[in-house]
Amino acid sequence: MRRFADLYEAIDQTTSTNRKVEAMVAWFRAADPADAAWALWFLTGNRIKRLVPTRELRSAAVAASGYPEWMLAESYAAVGDLAETLALLVDSLADDEGDLPLHVWMARVVTLPTLDAAEREAALRRWWAALPRRERYVFNKLLTGAFRVGVSHTLVVRALAEVAGVPAATLAHRLMGSWAPTAEAWRGLLGEEQGTEDLSRPYPFFLASPLEGEPASLGDPAAWLAEWKWDGIRAQVIRREGTIAVWSRGEELVTDRFPEVATAAARLPSGTVLDGELMAWRGEAPLPFADLQTRIGRKKLDKRVLDAVPVALVAFDVLEADGVDLRERPLSERRARLAEIVAPLAPAVRLSEEVRAPDWEGLATHRQGARELGVEGLLLKRRDSAYGVGRPRGPWWKWKVAPLTMDGVLVYAQAGHGKRAGLYTDYTFAVWQDGALLPVAKAYSGLTNVEIEELDRWIRRHTVEKFGPVRSLEPVHVFEIAFEGIAPSPRHKSGVAVRFPRILRWRRDKAAADADTLASLQALLRVQA
C-alpha cells in the first residue's frame, strides 16, 4: 500500500498535467503487474460496488476513533470526503504488520461483502490500525469507491501509451469495455499484439466542443454538416459475429436496457459499429428526456413499459463496417455508408437527419427553433473530419441554444465536497408563489472563488436554522440561474424540475422580492410542451 500511496501522492502533489503524466509513467514502469492492474483499474474510474455500507463505515470509525457520531458529521462537513475524514479521525498508533502490496490488500478487501457486519467492523478496525495515515487515507478511498485523484482518463491513457510504446488511440481502444484488474490483463494491455480482441469492445467516443462565438468564424458553411443535437444517451451499437452490444458513453454495457435497439442491431452485417443517441421516440417525434429517464428507472421492462416509452437509436456515424475501422475516413463518406446501413432498420434505428440551410443565418434560424423540437441546438461537423479521440477543438462543435434563465432567491446552503470542502457551496434557490418561497433548483457552480468565500461568510452569519448539514438562510440574495430545460415533476413540491441548473451571476442589484414567480416558470413549461 505504501507504493500505491506514493503514486497517489505524486499525482496529487502537482497541478501540472505533464508532471502528473511523468509520475504515472515512472510508477507504472516500476510496478509489479498485479499492482499496476489494480492501480490502473482505479485510476480509470472503476470501483468495487457495495464493499461496505457507508453506515457501517461510519459506525466502525466512531468505534475506532472514540468520537461520537455528531463529531464525525461536523468533521465530514469540514473535510467533504468520507474516506479522508475517517483517515484523519482514526488515529492509528501501530504499524507492526509491515507494508503489503496493493494487490494483496485488494485480495483482502474483496472478501468484505462475504463477512457479516461484526466481522467486517473488526476487519476494518484491524486494517486501519495497521496502516499509517497516508496509506489509511488511500485505503479508505478504495473502500468508498470515490477514487478521484485529479487525472482525467485522457492523462492516464497518455501515460500508459508511453509505458506500452503504442499510440494513445490504440491504448484508449484497448481500455474500452470491461476488463478485470489482473496481472494477465495488464500484460495484455501493454502487449504488442492482442490475441483475441474482445468482440464487444467499443471505440473511444469522439466529442464536440461548445461553440462560444459566432459560427461565421468557421468559414464556408458548405464545408460543414449540421444536425440536431439530440438530448438523449450517447451510445455505440456493435454487431460483430454473434455479439451484439450497446455501450453508453459512461462505458456501461446497456444492451439489456434497450431490447428494441438490440433486436434491430441483430440485422446489421457482422463487423458494424454505429454511433448515435438513444432517444425516447414515438412515430416521427422524440419524447421528452424525462420519459427516457422514467424508462431507465424501471427495473423490469415489460410490454407495457416498452409500449409506453419506445426507444430508438438516432444514428449519426458509422465507425466500423465489414470489420474495417472507418474512423480515419472523411465524415461525408461515413455518412453515405451510414445511410445505406440504417435504411432497413427503422423504426428502432433511424438516420440523424441533416439540417440544411444555404448560409449561417439560415442555420441560426433553425437553431432558434430547437427548443420547440426538444433538442439542445445544432452540431456542426466538418464534412472532411475523421472520427477522432476525446474532445479536440476544431472538427466538431456543439452550437447550443441559449439557456433558459430565472432569478431565484438563495434559501438553503450545504457544505461542499472536494475542492469546496468546508465552504457552503451547495445552494438551493427558490421562486415566489402566493407570498412564499418555493425551492426549485439546486446549483453548485458558477460563482468565482472570491464570491464563494464572501457568500460562505454571509451564510454563516445569516443562518435561520440548521437541519443537520443544511442551513436555511435569510431570503436576501438573488441569483440568475441558467438551465437547459424544464419538465413537470410530481416529486417536487414546486411541481417542476429544471435540467442542469447553474449560476449565471449574483444579482446584487435585485432584492428578494424581485425574484421570479412559479407562474413564470410554468409559462416556460408551456413553451416547451
Partner: protein, 346 residues
C-alpha cells in the same frame, strides 16, 4: 458567582471590560484598547490608546501608524487599569503575542488571544495561566486538526526545495507575512544555510524579528535579484495574496506550496490550487485546545474565533460550562485576507 456581572462582554465595538474601562482587540476604534497580538484581525487602527507587550511594539507601530499612542508592558508585569489588574502572558502564537489576564475582586479571567502549544523558535512559549473564566480561540476546533512536530514539517519543506532545485525550478512558498514566514525561516535555519528570497511585504517583518534576536536563514528581496534572474532552484517566500498575481510571472515554471494548518485537508489545498500543502499552523490543534482548557482550571469556558460549536458541545458533554462568545476575529473558513503587512492568521 452566578449573579456577578461578567468581566468581559461583547459589544459592537469589541470585547468590553466594564470595571477596567478598556476593550480587548476591538474591531472598531475605541478610547482604550489592550491588544493580544499584531495580526490584522486583532490590532485594528483608529483607537486613541493601545497597551501591548514590548516585543510586539515594532510590528504594531508598522500596522497602526507613526502617530498611534502605543504603550508597552513586559510579559507578567501587572498594571492597574481602572478597577482591575491586567497582565500579559506568552501565547506562543507569533512574536510578542500574549494572553490577557484580568483580575477583579478575586475573580480571574484569561483571554487566550490566538495561541499554540507547539514549539516555535521565534517567540516565547505559551504559559498556562490559571483562571476562573477562560476565553479560548478555536480556529482549529475539530479533531481532524492535529499537527505533526514542526521540525518534521520543516524537513518536508526542505525536501521539497531540494526536489525543485534538482529540477531547476523556482519553489514559491506562500506563508503569512507575520509569524509563519519567520517561523519557516527559523526552522529551516536548523537544517540548511541557503539564502531565501522574500516578497516585499514579508521583508520588513523579517527585519523586526532579526532585531529581536531570532536566528533565521539569510534572506534577499526578490526585487533585489539581478536582472534576468529566473530563480531556478531558489526558494521564494511570498504572501498568499500574491498567488495568481502578475508578480508570479517572475518565477517561470515555479512549483507552489502553501504553509497553513488548513492544508491538513486535501480539498482546501486543492481549492488554493497549490502543488503542495505544508501543515504548519500558529494555532492550537485539537489536542492542544483540550489540554489548554484543562490546564486553565477554569470552570467557565468561552469559545470564540473558529469552529466554536463542536468544541463547546464537546466540553459541555464533559460537564464544563462552555459557551460560544461572538467576536469579529476572523477564524472561520480559510479566507485569505491580505494586507500590506500581515494577513488573517492560519
Amino acid at each position: 458567582m452566578g449573579t456577578r456581572e461578567p468581566l468581559l462582554r461583547p459589544t459592537p465595538a469589541g470585547l468590553w471590560c466594564e470595571p477596567g474601562g478598556f476593550y480587548v482587540d476591538p474591531w472598531q476604534p475605541v478610547e482604550r484598547a489592550v491588544l493580544t497580538h499584531a495580526h490584522a484581525d486583532h490590532a485594528r487602527p483608529g483607537s486613541a490608546a493601545y497597551l501591548a507587550t514590548a516585543p510586539s511594539l515594532p510590528i504594531l507601530r508598522r500596522r497602526l501608524g507613526p502617530d498611534a499612542r502605543l504603550e508597552s508592558i513586559a510579559y507578567g508585569e501587572v498594571r492597574r487599569i481602572g478597577d482591575v489588574d491586567v497582565s500579559l502572558h506568552p501565547a506562543g502564537h507569533v512574536l510578542g503575542s500574549a494572553q490577557l489576564r484580568i483580575a477583579h475582586q478575586g475573580e480571574v479571567w484569561v483571554v487566550s488571544g490566538d495561541y499554540k502549544r507547539a514549539p516555535d523558535p521565534t517567540c516565547a512559549a505559551f504559559e498556562p495561566v490559571p483562571c476562573d473564566t477562560f476565553v479560548t480561540e478555536a480556529t482549529f476546533g475539530l479533531p481532524i486538526y492535529r499537527w505533526e512536530p514542526p521540525e518534521r514539517t520543516a524537513a518536508e519543506i526542505l525536501a521539497w526545495w531540494d526536489t525543485t532545485r534538482a529540477a531547476g525550478r523556482p519553489a514559491v512558498l506562500f506563508a503569512y507575512a507575520l509569524g509563519k514566514a519567520q517561523r519557516i525561516l527559523a526552522e529551516l535555519a536548523r537544517l540548511t544555510d541557503r539564502e531565501v528570497y522574500l516578497h516585499g511585504a514579508i521583508a520588513p517583518i523579517v527585519d523586526i524579528y532579526r532585531e529581536a534576536g531570532v536566528a533565521m536563514l539569510p534572506t534577499r528581496l526578490v526585487a533585489d535579484a539581478p536582472a534576468g534572474h529566473r530563480f531556478a532552484g531558489d526558494l521564494v517566500l511570498a504572501t498568499p495574496g500574491s498567488q495568481g498575481s502578475p508578480w508570479m510571472k517572475r518565477f517561470p515554471g515555479a512549483e507552489t506550496a502553501l504553509a497553513s494548518g488548513w492544508m491538513r485537508v486535501r480539498g482546501t489545498r486543492r481549492r488554493h490550487s497549490v502543488d503542495r500543502g505544508f501543515v504548519l499552523s500558529d494555532h492550537a490543534d485539537w489536542p492542544a485546545l483540550l489540554d489548554t482548557v484543562a490546564a486553565s482550571g477554569a470552570e467557565r469556558i468561552l469559545v470564540t474565533h473558529g469552529s466554536t460549536e463542536p468544541l463547546v458541545r464537546w466540553l459541555c458533554e464533559r460537564g464544563l460550562d462552555a459557551r460560544t462568545l461572538p467576536t469579529a476575529w476572523e477564524g472561520e473558513g480559510d479566507v485569505i485576507v491580505e494586507t500590506p503587512t500581515a494577513g488573517a492568521p492560519g
